[in-house]
Structures are given as C-alpha cells and as structure tokens.
C-alpha cells in the first residue's frame, strides 16, 4: 500500500510539469506563472539559483523523511517479536 502511494506520488509530481505546460500553452500568459517568473528573474536571475537549491533540499529531505517513517515501522515490527 505504501509503495502504491509512493508511485502515485511520483507520477503526480512528474505529470505536474505536463499540466503546467498545457496550461501555459492554452491560455498563453497567465497571471500566476507571470508572477512566479518575475520572482525568479529577480537580482539578475540569481533568485532562480536559490530556488533550485531550495528545491533540491526539499526533495532530499522529503525522501529522507519517507525513509525514516519506513524504518520506524520496520523497527516496530522487529521489536514486537
């Protein structure tokens, strides 16, 4: 069950890009993505570097939290016996 959740999560994450691509293709320019790109463009495009680093950090931390939870569960199983 946990694995299924993980797979759905991954598919969701990777298909988000298609959704965003579709959105911008349909409506041309939309306010939300305009505001976001303006934020990223700040300080001669330095903000996008910061964003990239934050995203990598969030990704790794989320993965570690997931692994942590699984380990706790396994520990409980082992200790029950």
């Amino acid at each position: 069950m946990n694995k299924l959740k993980a797979i759905i999560f991954t598919i969701g994450l990777s298909s988000m890009n298609f959704l965003i691509a579709g959105e911008t293709a349909v409506s041309g320019t939309n306010a939300v993505s305009d505001a976001a790109t303006n934020m990223l463009r700040g300080n001669a495009k330095f903000n996008v570097v910061a964003t990239v680093l934050v995203l990598i950090f969030i990704g790794i931390v989320l993965y570690l939290i997931r692994l942590d939870r699984k380990m706790t569960k396994l520990e409980k199983q082992i200790n029950q016996k």
């Binding site: 299924l4 598919i11 890009n17 298609f18 463009r41 001669a44 495009k45 996008v48 570097v49 396994l74």
Partner: protein, 360 residues
Amino acid sequence: MQSNSKGYKLIKIGSIVLILYVLIGGLFLPLKTGITGVSNGQLKSNEPQSFSVDLYNPGTGFVAEKVILKHKNLVFQSQENQYNEAGYLNSKINVVLGDTQHSQLFDVFVFGSSSVSPKQWMYFPDAVWVEKSISDTGVSNKIELSNLTSLVKQDIQSGFPNRPILNESIRNLLYHVPMWFSMMFLLLLSVIYAIKYLMKNQLKDDLWSESFIKIALLNGILGCVTGSSWASITWESWWPSDDPKLNGVAIGMFMYLAYLILRTSLKDPYQRARISSVYAILIYPIFMALIAIMPKLSADTLHPGSGGTVGFNKYDLDNTLRLFFYPAVIGWILFFIWISILRYRFETLKNIQIEREDNE
C-alpha cells in the same frame, strides 16, 4: 558494503566536502560584468543615433572606453559614451550600411575599466536593429574587424562568465546538471548489478539494482523540478514541449516507474529478481537513447550539445566554471550513492524481517 568500511566513509565524507566546496564557491564567487539588456535599440543608418546599454555590476568608477556594434564584417565604434551610476551606458553612433547591405541586427560589445578590473569587455548578441535609410553613403564610424578581435582577447576579470540570457543563473550548472549526471551514473550501476544478479543468482545484487533505480528516480524528479524553474526564466516556459530532451526524459522516467510497478506485482523473490533484472538491463539503452541520442539527432533542442543552443558548448565552459563543475558532478554522484546505500541497507533489513515472518 559494510557501514564501517573505509570506502563507505570515503563516499560520505568525500561527498559532503565536495558539495560544501561547490555550494560555497558556486554562491560566493562573483559573476563577471555583463550586459543584461539594451534599450532604444532601434537605430536609423546614416545619422548619429543614441542607444542605451544596461550593465550588470561594472564596479565603481566604471569608464566606458569603447562601444562597438558588429554584424559579420561590419564593425562600428561609437563617438560618445556616457555612463551613469544607475547602470546605464548611453552611446552615440553613426552607422552606414552601404549599398550592398540591408537592415541588420547588430551585436553590442562594451569595453571599459573600473575598480573590478582595468580591462573588461562585455557582449550581447543581436541587441541593436539598424534600419536602412534611403540615402546611405555618408561618413560613418566604421572600423576594421581586426581591431575588435584583438580587443576581445584581453580579458583579465575573474569570476563566472556572464552570458546573455543566463546571467546569474549560470550557477545552476553546478546544481541542476549534476542531478542528471548522477541519475545516469546510478542507472548504469543498477545495470551492472542486474547483470551480476543474472550471473550469480544472489538476491542482494537485485536489491542493489532496485535501490539505485529508486534513487535515480529521485534524481530525475529533482532534475525535472529544478530544470523547470530554470527554464521558466531562460526559455520563457516551464516545460518547453518542443525540446526532445525533456520529453525523452519524461518517457524514460515512466519506463523506470513501470519497473517499480513490475516489482510490486511479483511475489516470488527469485522470479521478481530475474524478471526485473532483465527489464532493467533492457530499458537502460533505450533510456540513454531517449535522453542522449535523440536530442542530438534533432535540430532544435534547447539544451547544450546540439543545434542553436543558448547555453554552453565546449568553448563556453570556461576555466572558472570547470573548477567547480567537475567537483560538483563527482560530489553529487557520491552523495546520491550514499543515499542509495542507505536505501539498500534498509531493503536488506526488510527482507530479513520478511523471511523471518515466513519461517514462523
């Protein structure tokens, strides 16, 4: 790999040291002076015209020595340059296209000196449009092309290169690109372990293969998300759908998601290991073809490496970037190998627990 072995410690400490080096160096080293844009860049030929160049961090006391417009062999030098501290450089120039030339887009070169560097030059391609006037044979500020090429060689400023469109975001080369290098490397390791399983029939090799693929997928997701935010400002789209590299990698990641689904659907561990090992070996060449070969064949990929790309080719990757790029690639690869080892250790424990439950 044992958790107290020397190699394991080397991977852990090595990755942390390298990534720290890349983070500190990559964030604190300044960017070279550059041009971020040109305003009033619509000129008429055969009369003195002004335009304004937007400079990025030229340093205090900047003095513009030369402003040059170039289109192939046509090179013109400005008559007057005025720099104000807000970062704008106003130049006056007289361009004469002559009888044989049509209206053209010109590249802008700026040469100057400041506290940062006594000799700096900047460049912005296709920035100024010169409209041809009806009579176009007057006296102009034309100079020889050789004057420009000799000036361009003198660059003693230190720091990351300031490329048009990229600007500060060139630092992402150290964080976004190694994600993909690491993904490819981990997938290669997974293939090696899959082959090893098929030869020796030991379940631990299959677990290695699985762990590497899982972390490679994490890498892929990170690469997609970071690449997407980078593309939104440089390529003006969150997912430029006509780029074969992006679509190739999306298909490739779905193939590897199918690998995970395949594993969950098989209950017998030996059967699961054999079938998924064969699958992992089979899809690796397809994955590499999708992300490395197909974009090369296609004419219009945005990524560096083929076609008319915005980013880096072998001349663009200069020595300062190289000083950080190679450690970044090695550091990130070692870091994700470390996480794969953690995953492998977890999977092994889980397998022991499952076996124990089955025996009872």
